[in-house]
Symmetry: C2
């Protein structure tokens, strides 16, 4: 199948104008979707184990599907409301009105594609868990392959749908005829994707941790029964949570990353149109398509045997994917970017950044290293010192990632400048050249996204498989096998979070630039010839309103985290009360004579999570719009004497500039806080696991109790607030892109 794609590649060469590359990218994404069907069939054909296993798996599946249905309904309603508001917002001003329909269509299609990707991935994941469990009874290789290919469904469908969506919108909006304008009209797609991602990640994150904390506090602490014990009424809700949080949530997160990056990079490519023509605009799509091929091959080659560490097998796949991604990049640079190898350099910088993030995350979250072992040691003097040590580690963790991102930005920018050295191009600023280099680094980083996402979704599938084995009373040696897979899944989940925040950080700069470009185009479009040389490339923190907006951006990130964490606490309260009620009213549950009502717990946490996700969601969407719309009236502060004149006409830019500052400083703060929470939470978790291996007194020691406190504190950090911040960062970028016309 892929051979035919390669053959196409060589054939399109004659279509030198570039349009053929659009069809190539779309063709590859369709092939990727066919591969998804193949993987899904591979999973669904597998054996589903015993009757008892199926009962548990069915309960998880029903809970997850019920949550997803209700969540999508809520998100659907919110999306339609927002679509109407966007439409009205655009229609109010005569100069924005022509864009209203296209923006709203793009927004709704982006939202729908994200939902579809999430639903498909989930559909297969919650069916892969039992098949993984069943396969683990005979062959760890089969179990591994079922889990990874189940995860690959999410990975491929996410990347392929975002590519297909952007590509088709570009085509139908007339991108082949007016390639320099259409990328701006596609921004709604990215915003739709972020909007769905925000709620998917928030709702899923609140769900998973409320169920987890609730199940643990009543089950483990109050009733003294082990984790995943079938007597705990909240146990199914807990297993459902792994799917809706880690699987559907992270899928939406990376759907959003690839969608926003596609759109942002096309906008930057449009700025270089005089040099590359259509090809510079299509490059992101082609590079992404090659990444899909690389990831598919990576997934296909993964196999292991009974003895090998399964992580080794997954890593082999990752290395193959990386090498193929670099090769694909080189081919794309050859055909689309005039053989300019500096751009390949930028791409390699991005791929290396992904690698470094993976290693840094390991350093901070694996117990072989100083950070986690220092937390474990601090547990000896009780929960307070465990928390202090964990917070100290958490606050330390952003340091290296920030240095890596800073170096990657500067290096890829420099490669971008180098790429154009010697070519004189009128109308293209030095800035646009350098930024295109950073855009290509982001493409490099995201070229392995489908594989990374497959590894990530592997996590909840094996976690659930372990739960099913545990609850269906399988023999000890099978548990050992699923535990091995589950441990690998924990690692891949942590790595993906590092990767997701890293790619969000790198993509952020590209999206800032796309926003600045869009404002420039808006002003040029309004003023016509009078402003044909107008540029907008300054976000001046020394201006009072801009500085104040920057403070508000940073503050918003803190407040959002506070609301997300509080939401978990509130939703957990409902679960705790329900579990206590069931234990009280039905004593047979604890004696094992009667079955707890799993459904009511699932139902309660579903309602609570959906309710609690609304307030932080409104803050995230409302605040950048409010600042942009209100601050545009503070021009008097900006430059006294009122609105500046451009080409003889007044143009008010303080709102647009303030929003940019909110976006940039909000992003910086978000990256730091998310890194702190993801890694801090992971470190607490593994400090507990380290003690459970027998260190410092082992299980049931006082040190272990202290470490359990740290682990519980880390849960909403690493699985609710942290991942939601990734999405918040990208939402800020896409919302400002879409709403830019309202700020000028």
């Amino acid at each position: 199948m892929w051979l035919s794609a390669m053959a196409m590649l060589w054939q399109v060469e004659p279509l030198n104008e570039g349009a053929g590359f659009l069809w190539l990218a779309l063709g590859i994404s369709v092939l990727a979707l066919l591969t998804v069907f193949y993987f899904a069939q591979f999973v669904l054909r597998a054996d589903t184990g015993t009757e008892q296993m199926r009962t548990i798996s069915d309960a998880i599946r029903e809970g997850a599907e019920a949550f997803l249905r209700r969540q999508y309904k809520t998100i659907g309603i919110l999306s339609v409301v927002l679509a109407i508001l966007i439409f009205i917002g655009y229609k109010v001003s005569p100069r924005n009105a022509p864009l209203a329909t296209k923006t709203v269509i793009a927004f709704l299609i982006g939202a729908a594609c994200s939902g579809l990707a999430g639903f498909t991935g989930m559909y297969v994941s919650i069916r892969a868990n039992i098949r993984t469990a069943s396969a683990a009874r005979t062959s760890i290789n089969n179990a591994l392959r079922i889990a990874l290919r189940g995860g690959a469904v999410t990975g491929l469908v996410v990347v392929a749908l975002s590519l297909l969506g952007v590509g088709l919108l570009f085509f139908f909006f007339g991108g082949l005829a007016t390639p320099r304008e259409v990328p701006y009209q596609v921004v709604g797609f990215g915003f739709g994707a972020s909007f769905v991602a925000l709620f998917a990640q928030l709702g899923g994150g609140i769900y998973t941790k409320a169920a987890d904390v609730g199940a643990d506090l009543v089950g483990k602490v109050e009733a003294g029964i082990p984790e995943d014990d079938p007597r705990n009424p909240a146990v199914i809700a807990d297993l459902v949570g792994d799917n809706v949080g880690d699987c559907a949530g992270r899928g939406a997160d990376l759907f959003e990353s690839t969608a926003a990056e596609n759109v942002g990079a096309m906008i930057l490519g449009a700025a270089l149109y005089p040099h590359f023509g259509l090809k510079g605009i299509l490059f992101p799509l082609v590079a992404r398509a090659f990444g899909l091929i690389a990831s598919t091959v990576g997934v296909l080659i993964v196999r292991t045997d009974e003895k090998e560490d399964p992580m080794q097998a997954l890593n082999r796949g990752y290395y193959v994917t990386t090498v193929l991604a670099i090769a694909g990049f080189a081919v794309a640079v050859h055909y689309l970017l005039k053989d300019n190898w500096w751009f390949l350099g930028s791409g390699v910088v991005g791929i290396l950044t992904a690698f470094l993030f993976v290693y840094i995350t390991q350093y901070y979250t694996e117990y072989r290293f100083r950070p986690v072992s220092s937390i474990a040691k601090a547990s000896l003097t009780g929960p307070a010192t465990n928390i202090i040590a964990g917070l100290s580690v958490g606050l330390e963790t952003p340091a290296l990632p920030v240095i890596v991102i800073g170096a990657a930005l500067m290096l890829s920018y420099w490669f971008g400048l180098k790429a154009f050295q010697g070519t004189t191009l009128s109308g293209i600023s030095e800035y646009a050249k350098g930024i295109y280099g950073t855009a290509i680094a982001t493409m490099g980083m995201l070229s392995t996204a489908a594989y990374i996402l497959a590894m990530d979704t592997f996590g909840p599938i094996t976690d659930n498989a372990g739960g099913i084995i545990e609850m269906s009373n399988q023999p000890e040696e099978i548990r050992v096998k699923t535990d091995r897979l589950d441990a690998v899944g924990n690692t891949t989940k942590a790595l993906t979070k590092g990767y997701a925040i890293g790619s969000a950080a790198l993509a952020a700069f590209l999206l800032f630039s796309a926003y600045l470009d869009e404002v420039k185009e808006l002003v040029r479009g309004r003023l016509g010839a009078a402003a044909s040389n107008f540029t907008f490339d300054t976000v001046n923190l020394a201006n009072v309103p801009v500085f104040v907006a920057a403070m508000l951006g940073a503050m918003m990130v803190f407040l959002f985290s506070s609301l997300a964490i509080r939401a978990v606490g509130k939703a957990a309260q409902y679960i705790i009360e329900e579990v206590r009620r069931q234990f009280r009213e039905n004593p047979g549950i604890m004696q094992g004579t009667s079955k707890p009502d799993y459904g009511s717990c699932v139902d309660i946490v579903t309602t609570a999570a959906l309710k609690q996700m609304v307030l932080p969601g409104i803050l995230a969407v409302g605040m950048p719009i409010a600042v942009g719309v209100v601050f545009r009236y503070f021009t008097g502060f900006h430059v006294s004497g009122g609105v500046p004149m451009i080409g003889g006409q007044p143009v008010n830019l303080v709102g647009a500039e303030s929003v940019a500052a909110l976006l940039m400083v909000g992003t910086i703060t978000g990256i730091l806080l998310a890194t702190m929470m993801n890694n801090g939470g992971g470190a607490w978790d593994n400090a507990k696991k380290f003690i459970e291996t027998g260190q410092y007194g082992g299980k049931r020691s006082d040190a272990h109790k202290a470490a359990v406190v740290g682990d519980t504190v880390g849960d909403p950090f690493k699985d609710t607030a942290g991942p939601s911040l990734h999405v918040l960062i990208k939402l800020l970028s896409t919302i400002t892109l879409v709403m830019a016309p309202l700020f000028v």
Copy 2:
């Protein structure tokens, strides 16, 4: 005495050129120092109680003085090393060489004045504690007045010495002859003050919390003896810690605020020289001097009776101080700023900001309100939920302060613009006018600093008095009295932290502007006539190196907090081991038959705190310098084609601009994190106290145990990392001011 000052005021009017106002400000600061002697005498004349009380008090005094001596010795060595480095750094470049001597002298005098202020305040505080304790045996009014006047010594000496130092340097550097240049030469004074403040606050903060955590963990938790029990070998170290952390540390913090603000506002005044002449430059000094008078009167009128809540009495003094400060401001505006009442508006904005910060802090830290009570309630489900609730509250707390600061900045900027409306002034930018408005708001906010600081130092004095009463086995009714004073002291300590961070935030913008102004002057000075119209007022986050520096600034704040918190943990370990050793080797201690060795604990924590303060200190000082010096070579990234040309000559500004971004975004992040830590820590503390009043099971319940965990976690937040961040923010400002010549 003050009457003669008032008389002087009216007489200087004929000296209309303004020089007389310098003498007025200096005269008032000398009078304030005389008042310090009067207050010190008032305290020292008081009765020192029983022999047993004196024994305890002597131990605290010796411990505190020993720590201060060794701390100042360490800081002195570091200061001399840094002075030599500054001297060499300036001398290397021929264009900076002429400023080397003046900068180093100003730096050393600033450092020395800060040390002297800290020493004087501490000298009286550690003698006021026993006298307050003794007075509490007869009259709460006497006890209150001794404690407040003891605190006022710190308050007045801090503000007066910073005024005197800046004023005298201005005079001796020839400010009356060349008033537009000299303010830039005084910046070293502010940097010296910040440098000492950083280490005083860090060292003191580490000391106080290491002793506190150590004493609690072994005493309360392991040995089961109450707080302040004389059998605990670490109890004296704990009481010493209150003095060196809260009293000496916060004194240095606010010394730095007033010094930096004096210098920064004079620089901005220099920009307005064409309009106000010398008077605009001297206004900050005169306004500060009037604030000294207002604070002294406020302290003098405070008295209470046996029934009244002592907080009422302190608040009365604060209201009187505030009203007098506004009146003094009006007089200063009348004589120095041409009766331009818009400036009074700016001043009032600052004073109102101080008020709002005080109220917001109360909302987040008093148990009457939702935040603290939610933490107390969460303690019912254990330490994990207590911590989650506390972190959620902590992350929420920056929201309102950021909005208040944002509004204050915008409003005072607007008043600044209004003040100049209609006047056409050549060579003065709109920006300089608006910023002068924000500078005046900062002066307003700091005009009550001496009184606030007196209230703050009241805290450790009454805390120590309570400890002395407790340890010397006084009757219950006297304990009740000192407990009342101690509770008031806890409130005033929390309020001062809110005030200190608020004033740091407001002052920050003024210091940014002073930095931009200084870079402008440096460039103009180098290029002469070619650049006479050059301005430097852009810190463009859209430039890659500037954005990367901004990320590094934010990262640095996180890393610094991490190091500060970890330092407490490490130092506490030493104490824990020492106390355990004493209990083990001398069983008579626990039986009450033999006296523990308090001195060795004091000694160990002194050594540990001084050692642990070095690493975060080096980070704070080294990173902005490193970024400035390294990033100036990244000009190629900034604008390709190399260094921009100004007036026909190449001028490299990317280093200076990057440092500005590091400074601004570091400041924003620092304000947020400090607010989170100060208020979060205070909320945890009071949630515990709330439970101790009998809520949720009261003392010794499980909820109480959970709340103790939260309180312990909050300790290094609110007393080490949080307050150190205040100083870090200001150090960033002054270090960039002093080092600016190296970045251009």
